[in-house]
């Protein structure tokens, strides 16, 4: 099958790639661009480990063709820290033990990033509903929810201080 040339921005950097139409976005990110922070968990659209932002909306990169990202902007976990400084979500996952094995964490954080962008002060229910597409097999979610709540507070304080 003929390949397609696509151009897309990933973490602020422009890329032009020749891809087979059937290539999934997650494979483009991991195998062609070496961005292995985005994980493949279930491969069946259930677990959310592969969540990235596509034009600021969280999507499962195992359920999107790379060609569909043509002309679009992608953000992955690798771009969350800036200038050596972790994103408040990353800091709070660390401080509040929001992870054990860590496999689901990149997806959790990318999903939480969009959640907090749309709803800066979510209730516990908003958070639980908001991460309903992300599975964690270790934590029981309690500390993940706590980490996102604290990140929301931290981001609001930073906003107020700025």
């Amino acid at each position: 099958m003929a390949t397609k040339t696509i151009s897309l921005t990933v973490n602020g950097q422009e890329h032009s790639c020749d891809v087979e139409p059937r290539l999934l976005l997650v494979h483009l990110l991991r195998d062609m661009l070496d961005l292995t922070g985005t994980h493949i968990g279930c491969d069946t659209s259930h677990c959310g480990a592969c969540t990235v932002l596509l034009d600021d909306r969280s999507v499962k990169s195992c359920t999107l063709l790379a060609v569909q990202a043509n002309g679009k902007s992608i953000k992955t976990i690798e771009a969350m820290a800036e200038g050596g400084q972790m994103h408040p979500l990353q800091e709070c996952f660390k401080e509040h033990h929001g992870l054990q094995c860590g496999f689901c964490t990149p997806g959790m954080i990318m999903r939480a990033a969009e959640l907090l962008e749309r709803n800066p002060s979510p209730t516990e229910e908003d958070i639980r509903w908001g991460i309903s597409g992300n599975l964690c097999r270790c934590t029981g979610y309690v500390n993940i929810v706590k980490a996102i709540q604290h990140a929301a507070d931290k981001m609001q304080q930073q906003e107020a201080a700025a």
């Binding site: 059937r22 999934l24 909306r57 359920t63």
Partner: protein, 289 residues
């Protein structure tokens, strides 16, 4: 898991999309949100030779009032249906339905048109559109036609859409005053397909009796079910508990569930009765509010 090879087309207009469908015929599948199609392709349950991606076609995503209807563009994402003030105010039943579909990431991409055109009896919107007596606008080589959703689903994953047609818009008649609707879904976990889903839309007359009632069912047959008898049973009634129970029994009789991992057929029939009563109560409460 990787889909089988296919040729990818990204038409810039509906005309171009129609001519691609003409050329590639039955070997083509339309891609919008892709949240059902891509998993099927990864599992090799679907192996289309051509994918026609409609996402580059402008003006297919909108929610607006027009001619007594709420018109929704086929490519409108679930997330936009869910967050629409028009939908929340005019059609709470649709808001209920949208927020119970899969999970936020899937709703960010999944489209209302795709949810209907896919023809999956497990999808949630069909029941709601049956209850609301919605119509779909379909564009084909011969022009445009409009089909009542109550005539749209004809078999398992089968609709009246021909291979060379595109569903472009959903039209929902705006309910009169004193109307209310609700959708309830019994699911094993958030994001799962329904074990049973029930949509109910009710209109009251000035005396508080039932003027109109539509009831649709999710995942209890090989097609989405329009429980016509259950709705008719309510019309003219005072909507007493006995009326609701009688309608629930008729709704259950209209279902044809099968045994699967989500439960036995008998259990699902019982759950249709329970959910129909509950959904009707909430719909009536909203109509009275």
């Amino acid at each position: 898991m990787i889909p089988a090879s296919f040729e990818y087309h990204a038409p810039a207009s509906l005309d171009e999309a129609l001519s691609l469908l003409q050329t590639h015929g039955y070997d083509a599948k339309i891609l919008t949100g892709g949240q059902s199609l891509l998993p099927m392709m990864k599992l090799r349950l679907a192996e289309p030779e051509h994918i026609i991606d409609l996402n580059g076609i402008p003006d297919l995503s909108y929610i607006r009032e027009a001619d007594g209807c709420l018109a929704i563009g086929a490519l409108t994402r679930e997330v936009d249906v869910e967050s629409s003030a028009l939908v929340q105010n005019l059609l709470p039943i649709l808001h209920d339905t949208g927020k119970h579909i899969a999970d936020p990431q899937v709703r960010n991409l999944g489209t209302l048109g795709g949810n209907l055109a896919h023809g999956d009896p497990g999808n949630d919107h069909p029941a709601t559109m049956l209850a609301l007596d919605a119509r779909v606008k379909i564009l084909g080589p011969g022009g445009e036609r409009t089909v009542a959703v109550r005539e749209f689903f004809v078999g398992f994953f089968e609709t009246t859409l021909a291979y060379d047609e595109i569903l472009t818009e959903i039209q929902i008649p705006l309910p009169p005053a004193m109307s209310g609707g609700a959708y309830m879904k019994l699911e094993r976990k958030v994001g799962d397909f329904a074990t049973v889903g029930v949509a109910a839309q009710v209109s009251l007359d000035s005396g508080g009796r039932c003027a109109r009632a539509g009831i649709g069912l999710t995942n209890v047959s090989d097609v989405p079910v329009y429980a016509a008898d259950a709705g008719s049973r309510l019309v003219g009634s005072a909507l007493t508990d006995d009326d609701l129970r009688a309608a629930a029994v008729l709704a259950s009789a209209a279902s044809r569930p099968s045994d699967d991992l989500r439960g036995s057929a008998q259990y699902k029939e019982a759950m249709v009765r329970v959910l129909t009563t509950r959904t009707l109560r909430l719909a009536i409460e909203r109509a009275q509010a």
